[in-house]
Structures are given as C-alpha cells and as structure tokens.
Amino acid sequence: MKTLKILVGLALVIAISAFAIEKVSVESTDGGYTVGDVATDFSLKNIDGKMVSLADYDDAEGFIVIFTCNHCPYSVAYEDRIIALDQKYKTKGYPVIAINPNNPKSYPDDSFDNMIVRAEEKGFTFPYLFDDGQKIYPQYGATKTPHVYILEKTNKGNIVRYIGAIDNNYKDAAAATDKYVEDAVDALLSGKEVPVKETKAIGCSIKA
C-alpha cells in the first residue's frame, strides 16, 4: 500500500511538472523608474540651441516627457498625437517635453540637425531635446520610442505617475479606445489617482 501511495504521488508529480511552463526571463532590461519614483531633472539642448531643464518651467504642474525620435515609424505615427497632447495640456500646466535618446552614430536620421528639420516639417510646439551622450534615457529606463513618462511636480520633486504608451492604437488615433496619457493627465489635474499607471507598447529599441 505504501508503494502504491508513492507511485500515485509520483504520477501526480509527473502530471504537474508536465504542465508547468518553464518560463525564464533572461536579461531583462529594466533599471530605471517605476511609478512613484522621483525623476531626475536634466539640462539638454533643444532644437533652438538653448538648454532646457524641467526647473525652467515655473508654472508647470507636471510634465509629459516623451522619448521619441525621427527614424522610428511608431514615433512618426504618433507625431500628430504628441502635438495635440502639447496643445491640449500645455496651457493646463502639463507641457510635452520630447527627448531624442538615440545615438546618431547608429541612426543618422536622429542627428541633432535632422531633429531640427523634422520639428520644422511637423511644426512641433514643444521642446525637442537631444540626449547628447545618451545619459538621461537610461536613468528613466526608457527602452524604446515612443516611451512616455508623466511627471507630477511636488515639493519632493517630479514624481513619476505614468509610464508607457500614448494610447492603445499606434496605427490609427481615431480607433484608439484607451487614451492612457490623456486619462492620466486628466486624473492628475483633478487631483485623482491615475487610472492606468503602466502600459506596454511596441517601439523602436533605443539601444542600438
């Protein structure tokens, strides 16, 4: 009887282990901020040649920091939506700050000169900063473009309130049913908790 119990037990172990999926994540790229962290300020060169810091914005209540670039089709697909976000929220205290994190040696399209060209073509209404030496994006933990960090200005610093995508349809703004960034900023403006704090999106890898 004892042998029997052992055998049945063994069969169960086999049964269970056969269905346990061995999922191992290797080399996860994180590091960087999670929601609730204080985000670093920076001093980065804007396309007009001036240095821009978050501290320059006395009247801001927070920031929509977007890592984006010229060469990435996903970024390009979102350009008009990024402009619309800036137009909608700058006057309410949440300006867009766009940062190009890419090394132009890997992506010549993302050189500082080409940033100026693209910003003019599209009529960017927000600063488009160059992360010279690629020092800021790793601190934020941005892995791809576009990658959004919404910061709320508090007396403890700029606190990360949202990390992720702009909305849930990169192909078609009109078909997007969840506007993550708008929902987050609207919540912050009315003193509520951000409903969706983190989302995932396909984007162009920053590390080249």
Partner: protein, 176 residues
C-alpha cells in the same frame, strides 16, 4: 491490484491531457499580402497566439523584428542560418514582423525578397499592443528585437540581440 489501476488511470489522464493540446496548428490570417511571388500572412494576436503553443516536440524560434529596427536586421542572418542548418522537423524559425501594415508592400516584401529570407515570415498586426505584449512575456517592455524559443512546455523569452553562437547555445538547452 486496485493500486495499479489507480496508477494507470492517473497516467492515462496525463497522456490524454497532452493529446488534447495537439489539435490546432493552423492559424487564421486576417489578411494575406502578396507581391512579386512573396506571400505574407497577417494575424491579430488571437490568430497568432496558437503558434506559441504547439506541442509536437519541435523547437520553435520566434523572432519579433521589423525592417526599421537596426539591431533586428543585424541579427536576422543568424536566425536564417539556424533555419538552414537544423533539420526542418526539429527546428523551425518564424520571423514575426511588426512593421506597420502600410509598409508591407513598400518595405517588408522588398526586404524579404532582397535578403532572400527563407524562414517563415508573418506579420503581427494588432495595434492594441498593451493587451498582448504581457501575454507573450510579462517582463517584455515591447522593445524589439525579442525572441521566444520553445519546445512543448519549455519556453524561454529574450529581450535582447543574438549572435549566431549565442543562438546555438540557447538552442542547445532545448535538448535537440
């Protein structure tokens, strides 16, 4: 004797459950792009997902890439070599393009033709990425290149680039 009967039932239960998983290996494409002899089927995530769950003893190497992604394009030849060098019934390489559908005719198909890609290429066209990225791996940020290697119930996910040797080393962990 009853003991052995219970054991028999327990074991056959295990086998029955595993045969049930075999059923569906055909995927339903939402669209098929055809151009110059190249044919690329497009799937939404629901249509694509069964491909991550085929339990037939074959190792599947599923690489997420796009023509605009430089590190992806750089590692494609290694995936092609894997596809060429291993017997078809043991290893299958599947190149899952995340190019925008509007770029399939202009960029993806010409790329597949010019590079003479022999691995299976398909398009994953599902714009609600936040809903399906965590279903592929909950650690995946959504950056590409990314790769899944799986065989039956063993699966590994990689958000990184590969060299040929690194790929072979990972493959060797799947007892071919």
């Amino acid at each position: 004797m009853t003991g052995y009967r219970i054991l028999y039932v327990a074991l056959s239960l295990v086998f029955c459950l595993s045969c049930k998983e075999e059923k569906k290996n055909t995927l339903t494409a939402t669209e098929v792009y055809r151009n110059n002899g190249i044919e690329i089927p497009a799937y939404d995530f629901d249509g694509f997902q069964p491909l991550l769950n085929i339990k037939d003893g074959k190792v599947r190497v599923i690489n997420f890439w796009a023509t605009w992604c430089k590190p992806c394009v750089a590692e494609l030849p290694y995936f092609e070599m894997i596809n060429k060098r291993y017997p078809k019934d043991q290893v299958e390489v599947i190149l899952v393009s995340l190019d925008l559908p509007s770029n399939v005719d202009g960029k993806l198909i010409p790329f597949v033709r010019n590079q003479n890609l022999e691995s299976r290429v398909l398009l994953l066209d599902d714009p609600d990425a936040n809903s399906w990225i965590p279903k592929i791996d909950k650690e995946w940020s959504g950056a590409i290149p990314a790769t899944i290697i799986y065989k039956d119930n063993k699966s590994k996910f990689y958000e990184r680039s590969f060299t040929y040797n690194e790929l072979e080393k990972e493959l060797s962990k799947f007892d071919l």
